[in-house]
């Protein structure tokens, strides 16, 4: 590494070094950008383009209809019903899953001994694919052979034994129950992580100040967790807007659209009714709804953001 050789080599190395530096970001980002453009951006735009067509997907017989599909969508009772179901699902997801998850998290946080085993077992529902769960609960809810009704009958309550998935009044609720069953552990772990980051000195200080456990929870722990709760709520709401697999397998959106969601409606429109144009309209509308709700949700709950 003597001075002469290095100094002489500097101009060439300088040039090579500089061009490598400038090109580096582009090279590192190229594969990701290409893939995202091809499979995320292009389909997104394509979906909007298709929504302007009337097409059955076979052959070249597509017809440009402008915004006609969108007008139909605005008047489509089935779509709005599906959207309503999505929102109901979101609402109940938050109202049911989060409190239970919070309760379990607090429980495990306090329990100490045995909590590790419990945590391991509680997590199991998340390992199953939605399809598997769909089949499982379809059987569980079966009015004739399913364990729920069998148990109700055995307990002498035949009146409560309904056709859970086949009865319009119960279908959505039955499906929501399964979704809660699957996702509670997820939020439980989320809250546990939040609780774990709770500094123990705060609790000790509060205890020395004479605060009861309940006070400590409501006035100290919960505010500490507000960032996490906000994240959980956002995830639950946005997640519920995108649900498909489970519903499709359990009820297909039925009976008679009782448990129809935007995604299942879209699927049926495209693959059963062969209306690619209209189906794409539904899909695009879904995208707009999700983006809108996500943006609004983030703004409204900004004040709950945890300071990092």
């Amino acid at each position: 590494m003597n001075t002469h050789a290095t100094v002489a080599a500097v101009p060439l190395a300088r040039r090579r070094h500089r061009s490598a530096r400038q090109l580096a970001p582009a090279i590192f980002l190229a594969p990701a950008v290409a893939l995202l453009a091809m499979f995320l951006v292009y389909p997104l735009l394509q979906s909007f383009r298709l929504s302007l067509l009337e097409w059955n997907g076979l052959g070249e017989n597509s017809v440009f209809v402008g915004l006609a599909n969108w007008v139909s969508l605005a008047k489509d009772a089935l779509f709005w019903h599906a959207l309503g179901n999505n929102l109901l699902l979101g609402l109940f997801s938050v109202l049911i899953q989060l409190p239970i998850a919070m309760a379990l998290a607090l429980l495990l946080d306090k329990a100490g001994r045995g909590s590790r085993t419990l945590k391991i077992l509680y997590f199991l529902p998340l390992l199953f694919s939605s399809v598997a769960l769909g089949v499982i609960f379809k059987n569980i809810y079966d009015p004739n052979f399913g364990p729920i009704n069998a148990a109700l009958n055995a307990l002498g309550l035949p009146a409560l034994a309904k056709d859970w998935l086949g009865d319009r009044s119960y279908a959505l609720a039955a499906v929501t129950a399964v979704i809660c069953w699957q996702n509670v552990p997820f939020y439980m772990i989320l809250f546990l992580a939040g609780l774990a980051s709770f500094p123990p000195d705060l609790r000790e200080a509060a205890t020395l100040d004479g605060a009861s456990d309940a006070t400590i929870f409501w006035k100290i722990k919960l505010p500490h967790l507000q960032g996490t709760v906000r994240t959980a709520a956002m995830l639950a709401v946005i997640g519920s807007l995108r649900y498909f697999d489970l519903i499709y397998v359990m009820t297909g959106g039925g009976p008679e659209g009782a448990s129809e969601l935007m995604a299942t409606y879209m699927y049926r429109t495209v693959f059963s009714s062969f209306q690619l144009g209209y189906g794409s309209t539904v899909a695009s509308a879904m995208f707009l709804v999700v983006t809108l709700i996500a943006a609004v949700g983030m703004r409204l709950t900004k004040r709950f953001e945890t300071e990092v």
Binding site: A24, L35, L40, Y42, Y122, L126, V131, A132, Y248
Partner: protein, 281 residues
């Protein structure tokens, strides 16, 4: 006042806590127990004995017939598709994360925001266009059809996670490497990649699990059983075993088994992996 900090919760509270805990445990485990027991009953058994009763004798025939009817083909396809996808995801997202976390260039911040925003996009909206595209390219009904969509849709989350990891690597290490004469490629290869081990593992696990259970794209982009992945096995077998409840539940158990076995071996890793996309909030 001296032992307040170390006080145990009162006995009443404890029993309430444990009742709730065990209650939820029952809620969690009963459906799974039901599946297991029923899958081991003969079909006759399910008609004769009460639903909650244990099998009168253990009948493995359902499992046998499922394993023999092409189950392993589905398994093989899943392993291939998920394996290749995760490998590509790790490489592509690591490169992109490095560029976004550490290289200075215009549009760095907006590009990162855009990619992260991609996490919100509901995948079903890309379903139909991708279906059309896959058919046009001629990859329809091959396992390869899934690789592109799987990798692309996993990129936003993976890049987000890895970028966070890479930001934690001290700037001084980069500067020392610069002084040692390394260009950005060498720094990436010899410093960032090795030090991102935990981040890469997290991304790999998170995506592996998510893609393993992926249904809708596999359903739409493949049609013949020889090319389908494990979640589709359930769907396909529904036709064959429509009224044979134990057999269906045997399929459910078998298709869920790989993930449960993996979980048994490393729950900490898997739990952390699955939560990865959300823990940062």
């Amino acid at each position: 006042m001296s032992s307040i900090a170390m006080q145990q919760p009162k006995p009443l509270t404890r029993s309430v806590i444990w009742t709730l805990a065990l209650g939820w445990l029952a809620v969690t485990l009963l459906p799974l127990a039901f599946v297991l027991f029923t899958s081991l009953k003969s079909q006759q058994d399910t008609f004769d004995s009460p639903v909650w009763a244990l099998p009168t004798h253990i009948d493995w025939s359902h499992y046998a017939s499922v394993l023999q009817s092409g189950f392993f083909t589905y398994l093989r396809n899943s392993l291939f598709v998920v394996g290749l996808s995760v490998l590509l995801i790790v490489i592509v997202s690591a490169m992109a994360a490095y560029a976004l976390a550490r290289l200075k260039f215009r549009f760095n911040k907006p590009l990162f925001a855009l990619i992260v925003a991609g996490m919100i996009v509901p995948l079903h909206i890309t379903l139909v266009p991708i279906y059309l595209m896959t058919k046009a390219i001629g990859l329809y009904d091959t396992p390869f059809a899934l690789i592109g969509p799987y990798v692309a849709t996993s990129l936003p989350v993976s890049i987000f996670i890895l970028a966070e990891f890479m930001r934690q690597i001290p700037r001084e290490l980069e500067e020392a490497a610069e002084l040692d004469g390394c260009g950005p490629f060498t720094i990436f290869r010899r410093i960032f990649l090795p030090l991102s081990g935990p981040g890469v593992a997290t991304v790999a696990i998170y995506n592996a699990i998510g893609l393993w259970n992926e249904f809708i794209f596999a359903y739409v982009l493949t049609s013949s059983p020889g090319n389908r992945t494990l979640p589709l096995a359930l769907w396909d077998f529904q036709g064959e075993y429509s009224s044979n409840i134990p057999a269906m539940l045997a399929v459910v158990t078998l298709t869920s088994l790989p993930l449960i076995v993996a979980y048994a071996f490393g729950q900490e890793r898997i739990v952390k992996g699955m939560m990865a996309g959300s823990l940062k909030g």
